[in-house]
């Protein structure tokens, strides 16, 4: 394993410490609960937004805490949902009179932790509501699973509910908006390489030099199929087609298009993929209104991409364009 790591058990804590040191004015770090929160949360006049998940998906979600996005994030260990109690403690700290919205990607462990935390918080009189995100189109037969997984589409939910909350929307309204975004967001990803969890020290699965995993999950879960490595244009075509056909997106739709790197793929390649996807959509009469190219929801050092489409309307265009101030900035 070649990583910047000390004792792997300290990986998450040391990453969060670095994040807090880099953002001393805006963030607060509570080590007992792996908790990163806005220094100025809770805001009395605003619904608080919380998201948690396993670690290893950075910048999701700890680096998306800030004005206009999350009020707090509570990550677990690498690829493991946080303990319910961490979530509960997080909710208590950012509890606002206007309520708390909990965003959760749809995985068994995460669902359970957040549902338990919601119950505990409600027992304390905190108005808390949970919203599940499940944008991944790659799990086709959900009868064998807990349903579709939440992946990079969660960014759009965070952004929209964060913007709405900042403008004073109440919990019902914020929940409605988040649900709507989730209902029009679709994602599919693919891996060129496996990822290596620090504590495991070796790749999570074996992927031969000439094979890729189509529809991979962000914890390295298998997706639709394993297939031969091909030219970018052929692989991207399959990703875009799967996403487009799922909602389905249709000619005349305005969309947000995100090309998300899974951690090991350089941004030059991401822009190449973006260009291919954009042109494919244009050929279908689908108009890209807003573009997102970079890393949003990663799988440690996995080389790969995911493509997300969100069908836009005027409300979403307005919310997506709202300002935000989070640790992920470049200058």
């Amino acid at each position: 394993m070649k990583k910047f790591v000390n004792d792997p058990k300290d990986f998450v804590a040391e990453m969060l410490e670095g994040l807090a040191l880099a953002n001393p004015d805006t963030l607060r770090y509570v080590p007992e609960y792996n908790l990163i929160m806005r220094a100025d949360a809770p805001q009395e006049a605003k619904v608080s937004i919380v998201q948690g998940s396993g670690s290893g998906h950075e910048p999701a979600h700890v680096m998306s805490v800030g004005k206009g996005m999350l009020d707090a994030a509570c990550p677990g260990d690498v690829f493991a949902a946080p303990p319910a109690d961490f979530v509960y403690e997080t909710v208590k700290r950012v509890a606002s009179p206007k309520g708390v919205l909990l965003l959760v990607n749809n995985y068994t462990g995460d669902r359970m932790a957040f549902e338990m935390a919601e119950e505990l918080a409600q027992a304390d009189g905190i108005e808390a509501r949970t919203l599940f995100i499940d944008d991944d189109v790659s799990v086709e037969d959900s009868t064998y699973t807990v349903g579709r997984r939440g992946v990079a589409g969660n960014f759009f939910v965070m952004k929209a509910v964060g913007a709405a909350a900042e403008r004073g929307a109440d919990l019902d309204e914020v929940h409605r908006i988040g649900t709507k975004v989730n209902s029009v967001a679709r994602t599919m990803g693919m891996a060129l390489t496996a990822c290596t969890p620090p504590a495991k020290g070796s790749p999570l699965f074996e992927l031969p030099a000439d094979e890729v995993e189509m529809g991979v999950g962000i914890h390295g879960e298998p997706g639709r199929r394993r297939e031969k490595l091909r030219q970018a244009k052929d692989m991207v075509k399959d990703l875009v087609t799967a996403v487009v056909e799922d909602l389905p997106f249709a000619s005349g739709d305005r969309v947000a298009l995100m090309v998300n790197g899974l951690g090991g793929t350089p941004i030059g390649e991401l822009y190449l993929v973006y260009g291919l996807a954009h042109k494919q959509l244009a050929d279908l009469g689908i108009q890209v209104h807003r573009s997102y190219v970079g890393e949003y929801c990663t799988s440690l050092d996995m080389a790969g991409v995911s493509v997300t489409l969100v069908r836009l309307d005027d409300e979403l265009i307005d919310l997506f364009g709202a300002p935000a101030e989070i640790p992920i900035r470049v200058f």
Partner: protein, 223 residues
């Protein structure tokens, strides 16, 4: 605190043995999870039950229910992933099942079955799962059925009968865990691998069996 020979002490013995088994088998349980899951099952369980053992003497023991609730709290607080909420819920529901029985000495076999049933129901509810999904329920429920049946057959209620019930639990849990091998996982991380989950036993079910066996093996040596 209850004396070594009370029923309450049997409950403490059972819980402590579960905890010790989790800690001692971290590696084995993790390896089982690595076959079709993500390899963290042993790590998660061990981290939680380690703290249960460390905090052992500090738990409120006013009633059996209070005691079980403390155990549940530690697990919920410190264990992440899927196992934290499931095992935490199991202990919390077991606590609720005996909340009307404040007397450690009065706990009996029927209470044991009630706690196991409540735990299984809690896991089902929390995990949206049921028997047949290839989870620890596939060991826990058959084991509870076997124990209930054995108790229905009657006995002298003495030490010999209790040891025999423990053995029945162990035998039935092991058989049930073995029977998960040909099943396809319908819940948890394993389920995304689809058919790749067939051919190995469910880690959670095996853990239940290993715990039950250790309880039976050490029943007569309990203090």
């Amino acid at each position: 605190m209850s004396s070594p020979s009370t029923q309450g002490s049997d409950l403490e013995f059972v819980v402590r043995t579960i905890a010790r088994t989790a800690v001692d088998n971290e590696q084995q349980f993790g390896d089982l999870d690595a076959v079709a899951g993500d390899g963290d099952f042993g790590y998660s369980l061990a981290r939680g039950f380690e703290i249960v053992l460390a905090d052992w003497d500090t738990f409120d023991r006013a009633t059996p229910s209070d005691f079980l609730k403390r155990v549940a709290m530690v697990i919920s607080k410190r264990v992440g992933g899927t196992s934290g909420p499931l095992w935490g819920t199991a202990f919390l529901r077991a606590a609720a099942a005996v909340k009307d029985q404040p007397d450690w000495a009065a706990l009996n076999g029927r209470d044991a079955v009630a706690m196991l049933r409540a735990a299984a129901e809690g896991i089902k509810a929390r995990g949206r799962s049921d028997i047949g999904d290839k989870t620890l329920l596939d060991a826990l429920i058959p084991m509870t059925d076997a124990v209930e049946q054995r108790l229905g057959e009657g006995g002298d209620g003495g030490a010999a009968e209790a040891a025999d019930v423990a053995r029945v639990a162990a035998t039935s849990a092991r058989a049930a865990a073995d029977a998960t091998t040909p099943m396809q996982a319908m819940r948890g991380r394993q389920s995304y691998t689809g058919e790749r989950s067939i051919g190995s036993p469910d880690p959670g079910a095996v853990a239940v069996a290993v715990m039950a066996e250790r309880i039976a093996d050490t029943w007569d040596a309990r203090d």
